[in-house]
C-alpha cells in the first residue's frame, strides 16, 4: 500500500495510520464523531491478518484502562471516544500522565463543536493541558494519518501517553491520504521500572515530579515539531495563530498566501518560542481555535497581556459554536460573503424515531400510565434513540444528561419523595453506566421503575454490537433486583394492553421494579436483509 493515495475520512485516516504504525489493539466505545475509527478497523483485512484487538469496550473508562494495560505490556495501542467519553475515562486518562506509558499509547478524542450530535461542546485539549499530557491536533486527513506514526514514536521515546484531538469536520470529511510503509507490531516487553504503574502516594509524588520535569522537553519538541509551522508575512500589524482546522478556515480566505505572519499549531504544549517571536514582531495577535479559547486565555493571562489579543473572548470570533471560513472573514474585517437568507418556508426537520421503532410502543404505554395520569415530570431518560421521545408527538421525557444518569436521577428524585419515579435507559447505555446506579437502588429497594429498552443494539450511533445482548435480565437479577419485579414484554401495538397492565402492577409495588421491553431495532433488522 506504500505511497498509494486513498480517499479516507479523518476517522479512517487515524485508524489506517495506527494500523500502519504498528498498533496491536484498538479500544473504544461508540460515539459520534469518533465511531468510524473502530468500525474501519473492524472491517480492515490488515487488522484481521495482524490479529489486532478491535472489539468494542463496555465504556470509555474500560477502553482507556485496557489500552493502558496493552501499553504496559509493551505494545502500541489506541483508545477512541467522543469528547464526553473523555469525562467517563478521565480517571485512568489523567492518572496515565503520572504512570506514563510503555508501548506507544494514543487516546483519540473527537470533539463536536456546535453539538451536532452531543450534549455539550467541551474541548478535549483542556484534558491534555491539565493532565500535562502532550496533545496532537491535525488540520487535515493526511496529518491525522502521519501523526499516528509521529505520536507512537513520541509516546515510546518519552514514555508518555498522548491525546489526539479532532473535531467533527475532520472526523467526517473525506480526502486523499498518501500511505507510508507499514511497521511491524511490538513484541511483549514489560516496563523496565517494575513500580512505574504503582500510584501509591510515595511513588506518585516521584512520578509527578518526573512528569513536571518532562514538560520542558515537551515544549522543546513542540517548538521543533513538523506540525507547528511559522510562516512569515509582510503585514505585521496582525499575527495569526491558527490551531488545528482553524488554520484551514483562515487560509481558505487567502488562496495565494497569507498577508500576515501565521503560526499553525498542531502540537501542544504550545510552542513557546514561536509564540514569543510573533509577540515580538506583531502588535496584535488573532487566535483562531476550533472549540474553546484555550490558547487565547493562556495568552491573555489574568491581567491581560501588554499586547492585544483577539479571538473568541473579545467578540472578534463567536464565543461558541463551530468556526467556518466566513466567520474568519468577518473577524478579519473582510466582506461577509453570505448569499440570500434561508426562505421562511423552510421548516426545522429534527431527527425522529423510525416508523415501527420499538421505543414508540414503550412511550405509548408510558403516556397512558404515567403522563396522562400523573402529569409531566416523572420520566428520567438517558442517551440513545429513545431520547427523541422529547419531541412531539410524545414529549414524554424530562431529562437527558449523561450516560447512566436516568437510573440515578430517578433514584434521587424518588429519595426526595417523587412518585412515580421512572427511568428509561437503552441496553447499551445500561451496560455502559447504568448497572452501578441500579445497584444503588437495589441496596435501598428504592420505589422506582427502571425501563431497560432492549433493542439488541447501540442504535443511535449506527447499530454497533451491544454488550448487554441477551444478558439484561440476568444482570438485573444478579445485581439483586427481586425476580418477581423483573418483567419482560414485547413492545408491539398488539401487546399494548398487556404492557399497560404490567406498568400498572409495578406502579402498585412499593419498591424497585425493572421492566425490559425487548424487540430488535428495525434498522438492524433491515441491514441483515
Amino acid at each position: 500500500m506504500e505511497n498509494q493515495k486513498v480517499l479516507l475520512l479523518g476517522d479512517e485516516a487515524i485508524a489506517q495510520g495506527a494500523i500502519d504504525a504498528g498498533a496491536s489493539g484498538f479500544y473504544a466505545y461508540p460515539g459520534t464523531p469518533s465511531t468510524e475509527i473502530m468500525e474501519y478497523v473492524q472491517h480492515s483485512k490488515e487488522a484481521d491478518e495482524g490479529n489486532i484487538h478491535r472489539q468494542w469496550s463496555a465504556n470509555e473508562k474500560t477502553a482507556v484502562e485496557s489500552a493502558l494495560g496493552m501499553s504496559y505490556a509493551g505494545k502500541r495501542t489506541v483508545a477512541c471516544m467522543k469528547h464526553v467519553g473523555v469525562n467517563v475515562a478521565a480517571d485512568p486518562f489523567v492518572n496515565s500522565g503520572v504512570t506514563g506509558a510503555n508501548g506507544g499509547l494514543i487516546v483519540v478524542a473527537a470533539d463536536d463543536p456546535s453539538m451536532h450530535s452531543s450534549q455539550n461542546e467541551q474541548d478535549s485539549r483542556f484534558f491534555a493541558n491539565f493532565s500535562l499530557i502532550p496533545c496532537l491536533e491535525p488540520s487535515n486527513q493526511q496529518e491525522a494519518y502521519d501523526m499516528m506514526f509521529y505520536g507512537m514514536d513520541f509516546s515510546e521515546k518519552f514514555k508518555t501517553p498522548l491525546l489526539m484531538r479532532i473535531t467533527t469536520r475532520l472526523a467526517h470529511s473525506r480526502s486523499g491520504v498518501v500511505l507510508k510503509s507499514k511497521r511491524p507490531q511490538n513484541s511483549l516487553k514489560l516496563p523496565e521500572d517494575g513500580r512505574q504503574f504503582v500510584l501509591l502516594p510515595s511513588i506518585s509524588r516521584k512520578r509527578y515530579k518526573l512528569l513536571l520535569e518532562a514538560q520542558t522537553k515537551f515544549v522543546e519538541e513542540s517548538e521543533n515539531s513538523p506540525f507547528n509551522v511559522y510562516t512569515d508575512g509582510a503585514d505585521k500589524s496582525l499575527g495569526v495563530i491558527a490551531c488545528g482546522i482553524g488554520y484551514n478556515y483562515y487560509m481558505e480566505n487567502f488562496p495565494s498566501g497569507s498577508p500576515n505572519p501565521v503560526l499553525k499549531i498542531g502540537q501542544y504544549p504550545a510552542p513557546r518560542k514561536l509564540i514569543e517571536r510573533m509577540a515580538k514582531e506583531c502588535k496584535t495577535i488573532l487566535v483562531i481555535e476550533e472549540g474553546m479559547p484555550l490558547l487565547e486565555e493562556n495568552l491573555r493571562g489574568f491581567m491581560n497581556a501588554p499586547l492585544e489579543i483577539k479571538g473568541r473572548l473579545d467578540g472578534t470570533l463567536p464565543r461558541d459554536g463551530e468556526l467556518n471560513p466566513n466567520l474568519i472573514r468577518i473577524g478579519l474585517g473582510l466582506s461577509d460573503n453570505t448569499g440570500n437568507d434561508v426562505p421562511e418556508v423552510v421548516k426545522l426537520r429534527p431527527p425522529a424515531m423510525c416508523t415501527g421503532c420499538s421505543h414508540i410502543d414503550t412511550y405509548k404505554a408510558l403516556i397512558e400510565t404515567v403522563k396522562d395520569v400523573y402529569g409531566d415530570g416523572h420520566v428520567f431518560s438517558d442517551i440513545g434513540c429513545y431520547t427523541l421521545g422529547a419531541y412531539p408527538p410524545y414529549e414524554i421525557i424530562n431529562s437527558c444528561v449523561d450516560m447512566g444518569a436516568s437510573v440515578t436521577m430517578a433514584k434521587g428524585a424518588a429519595d426526595a419523595g417523587l412518585f412515580p419515579s421512572i427511568a428509561v435507559i437503552g441496553d447499551s447505555t445500561f451496560t455502559h453506566s447504568g448497572m452501578t446506579g441500579l445497584l444503588d437502588a437495589v441496596i435501598e429497594n428504592t420505589n422506582m421503575i427502571l425501563f431497560i429498552l432492549d433493542n439488541s443494539t447501540t442504535a443511535m450511533t449506527g447499530g454497533q454490537k451491544s454488550h448487554a445482548y441477551g444478558k439484561i435480565k440476568d444482570i438485573c437479577i444478579g445485581l439483586g433486583v427481586n425476580p418477581e419485579h423483573v418483567r419482560e414484554v414485547v413492545p408491539l401495538p398488539k401487546n399494548h394492553s398487556e404492557f399497560v397492565n404490567i406498568i400498572k402492577e409495578e406502579l402498585e409495588y412499593n419498591g424497585l421494579s425493572v421492566i425490559i421491553p425487548t424487540r430488535e431495532c428495525i434498522q438492524t433488522i433491515g441491514k441483515k436483509k
Binding site: K5, L7, L9, T32, P33, T35, E36, H116, S117, R169, L170, H172, S173, R174, S175, G176, I245, Y247, N248, Y249, M251, E252, N253, P255, N324, P325, N326, R329, D336, N337, T338, G339, N340, D341, V342, P343, V345, V346, K347, L348, R349, P350, P351, A352, M353, C354, C385, L388, P392, M460, T461, G462
Partner: protein, 194 residues
C-alpha cells in the same frame, strides 16, 4: 478548475451515493477532493447535507464558504432551500420535486415551488417519477446526478464509468438501470433549460 457542491436531503435518502460516483471520477482525474459528510443523530430522518469540494489546486477548508457554492443538488425540494445562504450569485440549484413529509408543518407545494423559482438558475426535476418511468424507482438519486452532470465540469463518460465501477458488484442489471437514470436526468435538464 473548482467546483463547490452541496448535496442535500433527508437522513435515509442516501445522498452519499451521488457523492460516491463523483468522488470516483475526481480521483480518477487526479483532482483534489474534500467531502464533508453528516453522520450521527440527523441520519434519523433529520436534514442532512454533504459538502463536496473539487479543485485542481489543494483545498484548505472541509466546509464550503458561505456564498461560494457552485451547485446545490438536493433530492428533496424543501431541503434544497435550506442551503441558499451558501449558493453563489451565479450558482445553480438543482432539486427533485418529490417532497419527503415527516413533519407536521411541511409547506404547501405551491409555496415551495414559488421559492425555488425565485432562484435565477434552477432546475426542478420530478426525479422519482422519471426513475419510475424508466423502470428503476430506486435510482432517483442517479437521475439527480444526471440532471446536474452538465454543471460538474467533469466528463460525462467518466460518470458512466464511475457508475459501472460502483454498481458493478451488484450486477449488470443494476448498472444498466443506473446508466439509464443518468441519461434520463441529463436529458430532462437539457429540455428544462432549453
Amino acid at each position: 478548475m473548482k467546483r463547490d457542491i452541496i448535496l442535500a436531503g433527508v437522513g435515509g435518502q442516501g445522498i452519499l451515493s451521488i457523492a460516491t460516483v463523483i468522488g470516483f471520477v475526481v480521483v480518477d482525474q487526479g483532482l483534489y477532493l474534500k467531502q464533508a459528510e453528516v453522520h450521527g443523530m440527523s441520519q434519523r430522518g433529520g436534514d442532512v447535507q454533504s459538502n463536496l469540494r473539487i479543485s485542481s489546486d489543494p483545498i484548505y477548508s472541509d466546509l464550503i464558504p458561505a456564498g461560494q457554492a457552485d451547485l446545490i443538488i438536493s433530492v428533496e425540494p424543501m431541503e434544497s432551500l435550506r442551503y441558499i445562504p451558501f449558493l453563489s450569485r451565479t450558482g445553480w440549484l438543482i432539486t427533485s420535486t418529490a417532497p419527503y413529509v415527516n413533519i407536521t408543518d411541511y409547506p404547501e407545494n405551491d409555496v415551495l415551488m414559488n421559492e425555488i423559482r425565485k432562484v435565477k438558475n434552477h432546475i426542478a426535476i420530478p426525479a422519482d417519477t422519471i426513475a419510475k418511468e424508466i423502470g428503476s424507482p430506486r435510482s432517483s438519486n442517479i437521475v439527480m446526478l444526471g440532471a446536474a452532470s452538465a454543471y460538474l465540469d467533469l466528463p460525462f463518460e467518466k460518470l458512466e464509468e464511475g457508475i459501472q465501477k460502483i454498481f458493478g458488484k451488484k450486477g449488470e442489471k443494476i448498472v444498466e438501470s443506473n446508466l439509464k437514470a443518468l441519461h434520463a436526468g441529463r436529458d430532462f435538464a437539457k429540455s428544462y433549460i432549453a
